[in-house]
Amino acid sequence: MSGAALSRGSALPAGAAERQGLRAGVISRIGALMIDLLYVAALLGAAYLALAGFRFLRSARTFAWPQPSFQETFVAGVIVAVLMLATGWASTGRTRGMQVMGLRLVGRSGTRVGPGLAFARAVACIAFPLGLAWSAFSNRNASVQDLVFGTSVVYDWHMHVPPARTDEASAPATANS
């Protein structure tokens, strides 16, 4: 999905313009999570093919398709997912799935989160994905991770990148539970 295509959608459809900047609901966030998982799976598949190609180039006679175990695959998936989420939140405030769904992660004051906070939140999301379900019942559409790290996921279809704050790294220490 190209960013240029998104940037040309200057005219927002009816019902979407007035909801920009508000906290997003559980359905949109689950959709973004699913897209992120598909993206992680695609990355794992690409990594698998890359490994197989490397093996083929290294020894074509003894080439055999890699046979990773479940544990290896799971660990690789967790690592890829954490890195993908952390990188996305720390850079633009959104992952691939959140970009498709028009969501953005912001800090306490509505600014972009720092790398440490992003990494910690990514680990928390992978470790306890059901925490996202709490956004359906929360009065502020907040997941468990949002409550822990003081973050919010809002509707933001625009392509601008919110400014970062230097005190974002200390957010987990001050977040209420």
């Binding site: 999905m1 190209s2 240029a4 295509a5 998104l6 040309r8 959608g9 927002l12 459809p13 019902g15 979407a16 909801r19 900047g21 508000l22 906290r23 997003a24 609901g25 559980v26 359905i27 949109s28 959709g31 498709v100 769904m101 028009g102 912001v106 306490r108 004051s109 509505g110 600014t111 359906a136 019942f137 929360s138 009065n139 502020r140 559409n141 003081g150 919010s152 809002v154 509707y155 279809w157």
Partner: protein
């Protein structure tokens, strides 16, 4: 004509072939002289003889009898013949003028039309003179007793000689100055006629005169336009026209400004025009491959495809997002309804104002 030596009334027309010219002119009227006058015999005769004698005398009057009336008749006949001679001289000049207008390569054996006309005029004049002489003789016979002193032998002789001399002198003067006078008259008329014509043209409104007196429509109606057009070589006329110069001087802009194109377009039956057009022939003449290549180069088709794909993707994404928003709102309302909650706080914390 200078070497022509004839009688007074004998107009020398060396260019006019009026039959064979006799050595001695037979149409010369000899003026009576005193010696020619003879007294008629005064003898006793019967009534019948007197009647016959009168008849003979009347017949002899034309041949120059010396009766008193015959002298006057001869003079009148001579005057008429002189007038006819002058007319013939004029006719000769006219014949010369006409001859100059005719081509000179005509054979000499052919009769000259102008000369023939002049000869005819001369013959008519002589005939008229003879008729006038007969009438004058009768008139003289009637008036003879009253004017007998005029025809006394002595007086008649003197008058005849004087008249003959005068006539000969006048004829000689005419012959001598004929060419000069004709030239003078010709020059005079040549200068006068144009002036008269010009003056008349200035005084008379010919245009109005033609409009009032001439039925132009009737004349035009009698004109066979088709016959005229058949005789016109339009191709030759067109070939002589400098179309380039005509096209340059043609006020195209002015004509276009005066043309109501929209009105003309409204009157145009496009369907009929298209139906009569051989579109297949037009398409066959088109280099579609070159046109397509040129169009692709002009519109930057790859960029267009990218933009189209982006627009389609953007519309798809917007649809998914809107559907997600609606689903979020539906779930929130459902949960809030179950939990008996009024509304959610969806406004995130602002800068320095955490919620």
């Amino acid at each position: 004509m200078a070497d022509c030596d004839v009688a007074v009334h004998d107009v020398c027309m060396d260019r006019i072939p009026i039959g064979e010219q006799p050595d001695e002119p037979d149409n010369v009227v000899q003026l009576p002289t005193a010696g020619d006058v003879t007294e008629p015999a005064d003898e006793e005769m019967s009534y019948e003889d007197a009647i016959a004698a009168d008849a003979d005398r009347l017949e002899d009057d034309a041949s120059g009898e010396t009766q008193p009336g015959s002298h006057i008749a001869g003079m009148m006949e001579q005057g008429v013949r002189v007038g006819a001679g002058l007319f013939a001289a004029g006719a000769s000049a006219l014949a010369d003028a006409l001859r100059t207008t005719i081509a000179h390569d005509e054979p000499e054996d052919d009769p000259d039309p102008a000369a023939t006309l002049a000869g005819a005029g001369l013959g008519a004049a002589v005939t008229a003179a003879e008729a006038a002489a007969g009438a004058a003789t009768k008139l003289a016979d009637a008036l003879g007793p009253a004017i007998s002193w005029l025809v006394e032998p002595r007086f008649a002789k003197d008058a005849g000689e004087m008249a003959g001399g005068v006539v000969r002198v006048l004829d000689g003067q005419w012959k001598a100055s004929q060419a000069e006078m004709v030239d003078a008259a010709t020059s005079f008329l040549g200068a006068l006629v144009p002036e008269i014509t010009k003056g008349l043209a200035e005084q008379v409104d010919l245009t109005a005169l033609v409009r009032e007196q001439i039925d132009v429509d009737a004349i035009v109606a009698d004109v066979d336009i088709d016959r005229i057009l058949d005789r016109v070589d339009v191709d030759a006329i067109v070939s002589r026209v400098d179309m380039e110069r005509v096209a340059r001087s043609f006020p195209v802009e002015a004509v276009v400004e005066r043309v109501d194109v929209n009105r003309a377009a409204d009157r145009l039956d496009v369907d009929r025009v298209v139906a009569r057009t051989d579109l297949q022939a037009v398409v066959d003449r088109l280099d579609l491959a070159a046109i397509a290549e040129e169009v692709i180069d002009e519109i930057d088709l790859p960029q267009l495809v990218r933009e189209s794909s982006g627009i389609m993707a953007n519309e798809t994404i917007q649809t998914v997002r809107v559907q997600g928003m609606n689903a979020d709102r539906l779930v929130s309302r459902l949960v809030d309804t179950v939990l008996r909650r009024q509304a959610r706080d969806l406004v995130p914390p602002a800068d320095g104002n955490p919620s």
